[in-house]
Each structure stands twice: as structure tokens, then as C-alpha cells.
């Protein structure tokens, strides 16, 4: 039984990881590098958008992603009763 819940817990964790890392990849490698030229056509608060993602936006998103992960995992730990006592 315990093994079964652990397995489910781990799969949910992996799902969160996949989602957050996808965003991580899109903002930095996607918006900041691969599609930067196209996005540069757009002006965002005075910046060409691709340049903004590469030098500002991706960093803000990185910080937010970690705190979202912390929240998700705290909830998940609690739900599966595996949090530290």
C-alpha cells in the first residue's frame, strides 16, 4: 500500500517538473534565443521583446517558477502525508 502511494506521489512530482521545466525552456531558450528575432519586432515597455526576455523576463520567470514549485510540493507532500514532521 505504502509503495503504491509513493509511486503516485512520485508521478505527480514528475508531472509538475515536466510542466515547470517546459515553461523554463520556453521563456529562456524559446523567447530569449530561438524566437528572439521575431519577438524583437514587438515593443514591450521600451524594449524589443526578444531582447527583454533574454536580459530581464526569463530571470523573473525563473524566480517565480521556483516559488510555484515550492507551493505545489508543499501541498503535495501534505496530501500524500509524506511531509516532514
Amino acid at each position: 500500500m505504502e509503495e503504491h502511494t509513493h509511486k503516485k506521489y512520485w508521478q505527480r512530482n514528475l508531472k509538475y517538473l515536466a510542466l515547470l521545466l517546459l515553461i523554463w525552456f520556453i521563456v529562456s531558450y524559446g523567447c530569449g534565443i530561438l524566437f528572439a528575432d521575431q519577438l524583437n519586432e514587438i515593443n514591450f515597455i521600451g524594449f524589443p521583446l526578444g531582447f527583454w526576455f533574454a536580459q530581464q523576463g526569463s530571470i523573473y520567470v525563473f524566480v517565480i517558477l521556483i516559488f510555484i514549485y515550492v507551493r505545489l510540493m508543499n501541498k503535495l507532500d501534505h496530501e500524500f502525508d509524506v511531509d516532514e514532521i
Partner: protein, 574 residues
């Protein structure tokens, strides 16, 4: 008061603070010495990690590099921050649950062999040592420039301070000192940026100011693009290097960050798995303050520099120009004899043929222009008060000292814990282990100080090594150790060795073996090759591990247990 006197006062006060903290936070046990007793609050640990991470290079060189590279400099901004997402999501919580002291501990136990541990120790020592040499040099440069002592004395004073609090306090002393150093360095970096931003675009937030409008109504970035193309440089906001290289360098820096031992060890110092995740978030938040300000500093400094010196008669240059000339980091040579400074891109042949020749320019006349000047000189260029400039000096020293101390601790831990306790003399008593740790840190300070005083001229090339090797060896081995239960000793060792050899030989060939950029594999520079090395490592490990027996059941159970937060204990001493 002069800059000199202000520097003595501010640097003196900050040092008194560091020493005071070191005496207060003396370490009594190996646990306190290695991981600060495992009881550091996540916010404080975040600050300490940030100070540990942001070196003299981040503080002094990065903004300068970006101001010369423009968009291409984004590789450092994203590369040195994005790795923390990987750390927080894929490494920190599991390594904290694992609950020992070092990265080689993990590698050694997960791959159930002394060989893997030794490979890891050697890598950790190599990476940390090359890194620390650069920091000691940074300390020497900062002291000699502003306190008017010679370079050697500067290195000596810096080594003395680090020696004092690292030997006395170990990780505990270092952590609390780094919290103070973080405050000093972040204050020192942002204050001048805020001043300059208000001055140029009338916006107190530099991150927004770099996208603002100048007093005459033109947009800041448009103006800088114009200034750059007028002088034959590429547009500031668009890149010049191949995208695939930018991609690979960014990835190598991210993966390397997540694999650097002095960063990982930080997450062993917090009380709980929960705190390890949170702590990585705080660390990145504190790092982001500097990393989002740096591109603004770069934009302001670049604009200010071009407008204040280009085509200005040499007799009328601002005073900061003359004072930096005496250091040799800035040099002017009047090639066409017109008495004015012509600063432009003379390697752009289109520009030289069409514009420069017709104006009678005969080459870029700023023959030396060290990018490290940018951060140090930008308060002077913007005419800020003397105390602000002194603050920048204290900040640069804080950055260099905090990183040096963190690295020296990894070195001493590797020697006393991984080599002596876990390999050569397993029966060593705790008291002797602590003594060995103190002696090895002392020896490491002396050796690093000496190497910093006579730096080998390949220090810069070695940074590519540190990240490339961390990315192609540690990172995949740890990740697969956590996420792939089937990964075994044979797969991991083969992957590490092949990844390492591939990456190292590529770097050696291009950095020391006379390779030229047109021979790059897929246009990827040595800085970015760690990404390819990582992929090779991963592929090799996967294949070999599937062809060899699975790891023993107790190792598989250990992997199961580190995936679940409950039951985390402090680092044990077994």
C-alpha cells in the same frame, strides 16, 4: 573627503563586521564546520548562497562584458540564473534528504564504489581550485587600485581575512559572514545604478530605466543602437554570434551551475527538505537583483562612454579617462594625428571602407579598453559622490571574498572528509578530522593566495573548463542517480569519463592547442561544448546501464527513500 579616505573607512568597517561575525560563529564540531550544523534559516541560506555564487566576475566583469556584447551577453544572464531552477526542482531537495556532506558522498554511495567517489573528488578539487585562483586575483586588483597598496599586499590582506574566518568558523562562520557580504555587495551594486538611472532617464528603477526615454525624448535603447551602428558595431539589442552557439553556451552555464560543488553543498546546510527547495528560490531571488540590474548598468555605461569620449579632443577628456590610463587598462593612440579620440569597430571592413576611410580615420584609437573598467568607472563617469565609488570597492571585495571562502571550504572538505575520512583513514576521530579540515583550509588559502599573486595566464580559459566539466560530468551523474533507479555504476562511470574526456579535449584543443574558430563543431565554441558533453554522457550512461546488471537492492531502496521528504535527518557522521 577623497575617494581614498572614503574607501579606507567603508572597506575597514565592512571587514570589522566580517571578523566580528566570525568570532561569534565559531565552529565546534565537524557538522558545524562542514554544513553549519544543518540549521541555517532558508532566507539567510539564500543570501549566503547568493553571495557565494556572485563572485568578483559577476560583480566587476559581467556588466562590462554585456556592455561590449549587447544581446549576446544574455548567455551569462540566463546561463548563471537558469541553473537555479534545475537545482531547486531536480537536485536540492533530494540531496538534502540524502543527508550527507558532499557531492562525492552522494556519487560514492549511489554508485556503490570508491572509484566513482574518487573521480568526483578530483573533479571537485580541480573545479574549486581553478575558480578560487581567479577570486584571489580579483581581491588583489581591487585592493591595489583603490587602497593604493601594491598587488601582492592586496592579495596578502585578502588571504589573511579569508584565512581568519574560514579556519575559525568553517561553514558556520562562512555562512553568516556571507549574509553580511551579500548585503554589502548588493547595496554597492544597485545604489550607483539607481543614481545613474535617475540621471539619464529619470527613473529610479534601473530595470525599467534601460527601456525608458532620455531627456531629449529619444528611447534609450534606440539611441544606443544608433550610436553602435554609427561606429560600425552591431546593433546593441540584436546578436552577432550564431544562435546555436548562444544556445549551447547558455545551456552549458546552466547545467554547470547546477553541477558546481560549492553551490550544491549549500543545500545541505538547511534543516529540512522543504527548506532546501525554498532556499534555492530565495537564493535566485537575491541573485536576480544583481543579474537584472547588470544589463541596465551595461546599457547606461555603454551610452555614457561613447558619448563622453567619441571624437572628443584628447586634451578635453574627462578626468576619469586620464586616471584609468595610468593603470594601463585604458590606452589611447592618436593614429591619424588629429588630436581627437576615434573609437569605432575597425574589424568591420564594410564600415572601414565606406565611412571610416572617408573621414580620415586610421584605426580604432582606443587601443586598450579593458571591460572590467565599466563597473568600477561608471560611478565616476556619471560624476557620483566619492562615497558611492568607495562603496563599489567594498562591494567588489565582498563579492570576491565570499566566493573565495565558499570554494576554500569545498576544497578542505574534499580533503579532510572525502579523501581522509572516507578513503585513507576511516578511523580518524572527529577531533582530528576537524583539525585536518582546518589545516587543509589553511594550506589551500596559502596556495590559492600564491597562485592568485602569480596567476597563470590561462585563468579565463579555465572558467570554460570549470563549467564544461561540471556540466558534462557531475550534472548528469547526479540527475540520473535520482531520476533513473536503473542507472548503475558501470553506466555512470563510463558516462562521466567519456563526457569528461570529450569536453576536456575539445577545450584543450581550442584554448591551448591552436584550434581556430572556423574549425568549431557546428559553430559551437569551447564555452558551450559542455552541453554536447552532457548529451554524450547521458547517452553513453543509458546504453551501458541497460546492458549491465541493475544496481543492488539497497541502492535502489536508497533512491526510493530520497524521493520522499519524510524522515530527513541531519547529516550523519557514519
Amino acid at each position: 573627503m577623497s575617494i581614498q579616505i572614503w574607501s579606507y573607512i567603508i572597506v575597514g568597517l565592512s571587514f570589522a563586521l566580517y571578523i566580528g561575525i566570525a568570532i561569534w560563529a565559531r565552529a565546534g564540531t565537524t557538522k558545524e564546520f562542514y554544513v553549519a550544523g544543518g540549521g541555517v534559516h532558508p532566507v539567510l541560506n539564500g543570501m549566503a548562497t547568493a553571495a557565494d555564487w556572485m563572485s568578483a566576475a559577476s560583480f566587476l566583469s559581467m556588466a562590462g562584458l554585456i556592455s561590449f556584447m549587447g544581446y549576446d551577453g544574455s548567455q551569462y544572464l540566463m546561463g548563471w540564473t537558469g541553473g537555479y531552477v534545475l537545482l531547486a526542482l531536480m537536485l536540492a531537495p533530494y540531496l538534502r534528504k540524502f543527508g550527507q556532506f558532499t557531492v562525492p558522498d552522494f556519487i560514492g554511495e549511489r554508485y556503490y564504489t570508491q572509484t566513482a567517489r574518487i573521480v568526483a573528488v578530483v573533479c571537485a578539487l580541480f573545479v574549486s581550485f581553478t575558480y578560487v585562483v581567479g577570486q584571489m586575483k580579483g581581491v588583489g586588483v581591487a585592493f591595489s587600485r583603490f587602497l593604493d597598496v601594491d598587488f601582492g599586499t592586496g592579495v596578502l590582506i585578502g588571504s589573511g581575512i579569508v584565512f581568519f574566518y574560514a579556519v575559525l568558523g568553517g561553514m558556520k562562520g562562512i555562512t553568516y559572514t556571507q549574509v553580511a557580504q551579500f548585503c554589502v555587495l548588493i547595496f554597492a551594486f544597485t545604489i550607483p545604478a539607481i543614481f545613474v538611472s535617475i540621471q539619464m532617464v529619470n527613473n529610479p528603477i534601473p530595470q525599467l530605466g534601460m527601456g525608458g526615454n532620455l531627456a531629449d525624448g529619444t528611447a534609450m535603447l534606440a539611441k544606443l543602437n544608433q550610436l553602435s551602428t554609427d561606429l560600425g558595431f552591431h546593433e546593441y539589442t540584436s546578436g552577432n554570434k550564431p544562435r546555436i552557439d548562444l544556445f549551447c553556451v547558455t545551456a552549458a552555464l546552466m547545467l554547470g551551475t547546477a553541477g558546481l560543488p560549492h553551490v550544491i553543498v549549500r543545500f545541505f546546510t538547511v534543516p529540512k527538505v522543504k527548506d532546501a527547495r525554498k532556499s534555492a528560490g530565495w537564493a535566485l531571488l537575491f541573485i536576480a537583483i544583481l543579474y537584472t540590474t547588470a544589463p541596465a548598468v551595461a546599457v547606461f555605461a555603454r551610452t555614457n562612454l561613447i558619448t563622453s569620449i567619441d571624437n572628443v579632443p584628447y586634451d578635453n577628456v574627462p578626468s576619469w579617462f586620464k586616471s584609468w590610463e595610468t593603470t594601463g587598462l585604458l590606452a589611447f593612440e592618436d593614429k591619424n594625428g588629429d588630436g581627437k579620440i576615434q573609437y569605432y569597430n575597425d574589424s568591420n571592413s564594410d564600415f572601414v571602407n565606406s565611412i571610416a576611410d572617408s573621414k580620415g580615420w586610421q584605426g580604432n584609437e582606443l587601443v586598450t579598453f579593458d571591460q572590467d573598467i565599466v563597473v568600477l568607472a561608471s560611478p565616476e563617469i556619471a560624476n557620483l559622490p566619492a562615497w558611492v565609488i568607495a562603496l563599489v570597492v567594498a562591494g567588489g571585495l565582498a563579492a570576491a571574498l565570499s566566493t573565495a571562502a565558499g570554494l576554500l571550504l569545498v576544497i578542505s572538505t574534499s580533503i579532510s572528509h572525502d579523501l581522509l575520512k572516507k578513503w585513507l583513514i576511516p578511523k580518524i576521530s572527529e577531533k582530528n578530522e576537524l583539525r585536518a579540515a582546518r589545516i587543509s583550509i589553511a594550506v589551500a588559502v596559502v596556495v590559492a593566495g600564491y597562485a592568485g599573486y602569480n596567476p597563470p595566464d590561462y585563468v579565463a580559459a579555465i572558467v570554460a573548463f570549470a563549467f564544461g566539466l561540471a556540466a558534462s560530468s557531475f550534472f548528469p551523474a547526479i540527475i540520473m542517480g535520482i531520476f533513473d533507479k536503473r542507472m548503475n555504476m558501470q553506466g555512470a562511470i563510463a558516462g562521466m569519463i567519456i563526457g569528461l574526456i570529450f569536453t576536456a579535449s575539445y577545450i584543450i584543443y581550442f584554448k591551448f592547442g591552436g584550434g581556430t574558430p572556423d574549425q568549431y563543431f557546428l559553430q559551437i565554441s569551447p564555452e558551450g561544448i559542455g552541453t554536447v558533453g552532457m548529451i554524450i554522457n547521458w547517452t553513453v550512461s543509458m546504453i551501458i546501464s541497460r546492458l549491465t546488471p541493475p544496481p543492488p537492492s539497497d541502492v535502489q531502496e536508497m533512491v526510493e527513500s530520497i524521493r520522499i521528504p519524510r524522515g530527513a535527518t541531519g547529516p550523519s557522521l557514519h
